[in-house]
Amino acid sequence: MTAGARVGATWGLTGVTVRAGGRTVLDDVTLAVPPGEVTAVVGGDGAGKSTLARLLVGRVLPDSGTVAAPGRARTGYLPATSGVWADLSVAEHVDLVASAARLDPATTRTRAAALLGAAGLADVPDRLGRALSGGMRQKLGFCLALLPAPDLVVLDEPSTGVDPVSRVDLWRMMSAAAADGVAVLLTTTYLDEAERAATVLVLDAGAEVYRGDPAGAAGVVRGAVAVLDAAPADGTPVWRRGRTFHALVRRAAGAAPADLEDAVIALALEHGGAATRARPRPPCRPPVADDVPAVVARHVVTTLGDVRAVDEVDLDVHPGEVVGLLGANGAGKTTLIRTLLGLLTPTSGTVTVLGGTPDRGVRRQIGYVPQGLGLAADLTVAENLAFVAAVYGLPGAPEPPPDLAGLRDRLVGDLGLGLQRRLAFAAALAHRPGLLVLDEPTSGVDPLARAALWDTVHEQAEAGAAVLVTTHYMQEAEQCDRLLLLSRGRAVGGGTLDAVLAGATSVEVRAAGWQAAFAALGAAGLPVTVAGRVVRVAGVEAGAVEGALAAAGVAGEVRVVPARLEEVLVLAES
């Protein structure tokens, strides 16, 4: 990345409305995407994020309002599907994009070398798209979007399904592009990611909930948030964060929201979100009398081919407990879950689930929600539940949760992802399982829907079910009572979220011009990323950062701060 900061106009949308299929997808949305900054659009499935991204790249035209974009030749785009061809090699991708954009060979070579080098793809020019991991594919897609040196780059959910290590790489690349003067827009479903952008637009069902500095969201909440140990008996809107209840109360009765997630949930509730999202009351299982662990795994080794995908892992999950499995892609989370479910036989070690070896009989008492949800898209809500009831031999089909009651006869494939997840939960809970296994239970849904899903999980735990979830997101990890950190099949840490984060530090740099600090630290070979307008370096001494800044003649305030979860995961991998 050699080009200096380009002086450019601010791109974006002004008063844009888009309607499709009788529905308003975007409702009078305005967003500025200035050059040299990362702007984030956050919202759940169906919030209108992709439509907004496609407006900027000219794939969708607004029904009203105006779109300011630099045009096709000056815009880079990373679609949600990563836009990488399965049967083309990395080098062939570069050729394709370079010739479509009519780049001269010399420019192509220098830019491709710089971009692919930053993405860690420089050494695999002949690898085919299909042989790349999800994270590498997204990074390649990002390199391709930046190859023609665009003024605006639009990234649609670049980090969905991407492991934390690649996610940090992606953020570093995005930060570098912004430092270079490119206007960067990304969409995401995760607030901890949006929090790192300079400007965030929170969308709910196509309408703006909040727009501005992520740190300013708390200031526009009309009410306040009270942190309680038990749910209030009155109808106060409430959501869970781990074992505590957060309630939206009058200004005088609580404090300002502590983070973006609380602020966004509060804002969504104040926008009338509660009325449309009554919380489900799934059937509750009678509490288990004795404290026999639901899962006991000892020295479990599961070999796939000649890879020890799970290597000497111990795990206990007690009734009433929510345990999170944390780790990058390939850390062994899915293999461990499949071993616990009895779908894979451990090579050595012992697995006891609900008092027995996991076979078909034991699996009848397990509720499992896979990442793909396992619903039949061509069946209605009621038919899906009837199928589950028939398979588990229940006397009657369970009633759908309240917010799905009016949609009994709708095809599941036509529902939004949030509602599909709710239905998958209801289906998994219908037979009152003693053990609940959830694979990335809330990816892709908006904060309010995520809060409602976690309410369900905690209710199950309180009723005596043992819950095991996999995740690599902060917001999911903090909902767990205990975490097990996996890396390359081995358990490398564990305990509460605080225990996992304890001791891990990151160095934060606040400088007048963050771009200069970012460039200086990047040039010094440090693993640097940006959160908002603050530069962060994980896993190094403050002295090294100060030294690199001083060497480059950049002034900045350096301090040591607690590491973020994905930084801890990256450190665990290295």
């Binding site: 299929g21 096709r72 030749a73 061509d378």
Partner: protein, 354 residues
């Protein structure tokens, strides 16, 4: 188990393509094999030429009627043997009755319509010494000679329809079509760039099959190479167009293959290269007439085996050109629409009413 069965039926019911396969395929096969699968030709069309044409016609008609009826469509006393050969080359009749000033009448049989030629042999045998006979174009009635020109068309259809539609649908399913749409490429770049490779591959296959057929089976190539090349190119546009159309209505490779089978099967069975068109019931024959392969087979067999020229093949060629314009045009428009920005239907309606 009951739950699984019930679930599967419920899902199947909503998968319209599979239901269509389950309903349409049996009906299609029943229709084809019930009405079209008929190797027996019971009527032979003929032309009589030469001074004794009228007499010879009467003589043949007076012979004891067997299972084969002779339908003499034209009696031309002023024409000669060469004219009769030209008529057969143009595929106007199944056989010709040639009379001269002296000697017995001669029956000329077109050997490229295999089943008609076999029926004609029966007729000649019945007439005994009263006539002489010669089988033209394919004297040994070799099946391969008739099949190879038709196979060229079938292979082009296969590549054009199945391979092209899968190639396009893969792009849609992987989401990379979206990427192409926003790259600085014009829609025409994307369309031509996407289709040209298949066009070239199919053309190369066409040359390969033709040459191999000639080397391995001694299939003759008697007519104009240029005419076959032109007809092949036009036909290729039609089948590529069908492939593109299939891709625009399919979300994944499975759906594309389902649709392609429904398009391919009738072409294989009803285009006249397996079952003779003349022996089909009229309704089914008309299905054959709307299929592009029918017309390409007429051209490829005519050019390669009978040295037929544009004067007799203009009709099939014109029909193929018309199909190419319609099908390929519709395909390009639909594909173009999928890669250019679109406005919602509501907005378009509002724009019209304003």
């Amino acid at each position: 188990m009951r739950a699984m069965i019930l679930k599967e039926f419920r899902e199947l019911r909503r998968d319209r393509r599979t239901v269509a396969m389950l309903v349409v395929l049996p009906l299609l096969l029943l229709t084809i094999f019930g009405f079209a699968a008929n190797f027996t030709v019971d009527t032979l069309t003929a032309v009589a030429v030469g001074p004794g044409a009228a007499d010879a016609t009467a003589q043949v008609a007076a012979a004891p009627a067997g299972s084969v009826a002779l339908d003499v469509r034209a009696v031309r006393p002023d024409a000669d043997r060469a004219a009769a050969v030209a008529d057969l080359a143009a595929d106007r009749y199944d056989l010709a009755l040639v009379t001269t000033a002296s000697g017995p009448p001669e029956i000329l049989v077109d050997g490229t319509n295999l089943f008609a030629a076999q029926a004609a042999d029966v007729l000649v045998a019945r007439l005994g010494d009263a006539v002489t006979s010669e089988t033209l174009f394919n004297p040994d009635l070799t099946t391969a000679w008739v099949m190879v020109p038709a196979l060229i068309g079938l292979i082009l259809t296969f590549i054009g329809t199945i391979i092209t539609s899968i190639g396009l649908v893969k792009e849609r399913a992987a989401g990379t079509l979206e990427q192409l749409a926003v790259m600085p490429l014009r829609p025409v770049d994307v369309i031509v760039g996407k289709i040209a490779p298949y066009f070239l591959l199919a053309a190369a296959d066409m040359v390969l099959v033709t040459v191999l057929g000639m080397l391995l089976f001694d299939v003759p190539f008697r007519g104009s190479v240029a005419l076959l090349v032109v007809a092949g190119a036009v036909f290729l546009l039609v089948v590529l167009g069908i492939g593109v159309l299939i891709s625009t209505v399919s979300q994944n490779a499975g759906q594309a293959i389902q649709a392609a089978i429904l398009v391919l099967l009738p072409q294989i069975l009803l285009s006249g290269f397996i079952f003779p068109l003349d022996a089909m019931a009229p309704g089914v024959r008309w299905i054959g007439y709307v299929l592009p392969l029918t017309w390409f087979v007429k051209i490829s067999q005519g050019v390669m085996l009978r040295d037929a020229g544009l004067d007799s093949l203009w009709l099939p060629l014109t029909i193929l050109c018309g199909m190419a314009v319609l099908v390929f045009g519709a395909a390009v428009l639909r594909f173009r629409a999928s890669i250019t920005p679109h406005r919602s239907r509501a907005a378009r309606a509002a724009g019209v009413s304003r």
